[in-house]
Amino acid sequence: MADAPHIQQLAGAWDVAKTTATIPHPYEDGMAEQFIESILTAENSNDHTFVIVRQSDETLLGMCAMRRNVDHFKADIGYWIGIPYWRKGYATEAARALIDWGFTQHGLNRIWATYITTNPASRRVMEKAGMTFEGVQRQALIREIPARDYRVVHDLGMCAILRDDWQNHI
């Protein structure tokens, strides 16, 4: 729960929220607490959510998550980093960690991620973490933020890494 104010502050930035499918905007008081509560009480043990903390000073930088599909030995991952901590390679470090964790600890065969095509920085993270671009789902995400009079139909890019790629990548 102690993370809530930091999450609210960093995820509350419009430039962060608009690169994601789900971060609410505006990020009002109580939302972070609710979000954390929902993670702590989640019954689905195949969903994993992490905060990303800088070791040197214990600053909360952002969050990342993995959703596993156990039937097909696959998972998708996602991440966001607060604006003050962009362009330092933290997202790539987090994505790599999730990928390694998924392959070594969960016996996965495929890990995939999606990005909004107007956000090429996120795709670069995926490629740096060893993922391969697979293609684009056209108009697959509608993002509506009434408070900003914002309604955009996004194309979603898909990247993925297979266990074989990962073994060769290391």
Partner: protein, 190 residues
């Protein structure tokens, strides 16, 4: 939308309609390995499993986003397959799927079913995007998508795992994704 959404769709030769318990034996009869290997159908499908599947469908609330139709041939009333659509209303999109018993392949029925679903989704559910996926070893399914005006988007590598000991079959399957957008569908109808 004020007018009720039809639960039955009539095409030239087929009737897409809600399934009933009476369909279970025909459904099981259609669920041979040649069919099951093209989609995530349970295999082998016992009569009990077919009944449980139908029971679940019948118990769905009216406002479900997961629609399934039994497919009946008008000429003889035979149950020949199934099709369905899984909607994501927040993004005005859906994914559709279809299957036919082997005896009914090669007659254009799948194209007729898929076209009917696409039309139904755009007309009655206000969709903006309809997608369909196929296992890349199943070229016939991809042709159906091409014929109804979908565009190939990409291949999800090794996205589906199938393990069917009865057929000594164990594989990670590549899945192709095709879609049609509302604009494209409207242009095609004009």
């Amino acid at each position: 939308m004020s007018e009720p959404i039809p639960t039955t769709i009539r095409t030239d030769r087929l009737l897409l309609r809600p399934v009933t318990m009476a369909d279970a034996p025909a459904m099981q009869h259609c669920a041979t390995w040649d069919v099951a290997r093209t989609l995530t159908m349970r295999y082998p499908l016992s009569l009990k499993m077919a009944e449980a599947f139908i029971e679940n469908l019948i118990a769905q609330p009216a406002d479900t986003t997961n629609h399934f139709f039994g497919v009946e041939r008008q000429s003889d009333g035979l149950f020949i397959g199934g099709c369905g659509m899984d909607r994501t209303p927040a993004h005005k999109k859906a994914e559709l799927g279809y299957w036919l018993g082997v005896d009914y392949w090669g007659k254009g029925y799948a194209t007729e079913m898929a076209q009917a679903l696409v039309d139904w989704g755009f007309i009655h559910h206000g969709l903006n995007r309809s997608a369909a996926v196929y296992y890349t070893h199943n070229a016939a399914s991809r042709r159906v998508m091409d014929k109804i005006g979908m565009t190939f988007e990409y291949v999800q590598r090794q996205a589906i795992y199938r393990n069917v000991p009865q057929h000594n079959y164990r594989a990670f399957i590549d899945v192709g994704v095709c879609s049609i957008l509302r604009d494209e569908w409207e242009a095609k109808r004009e």
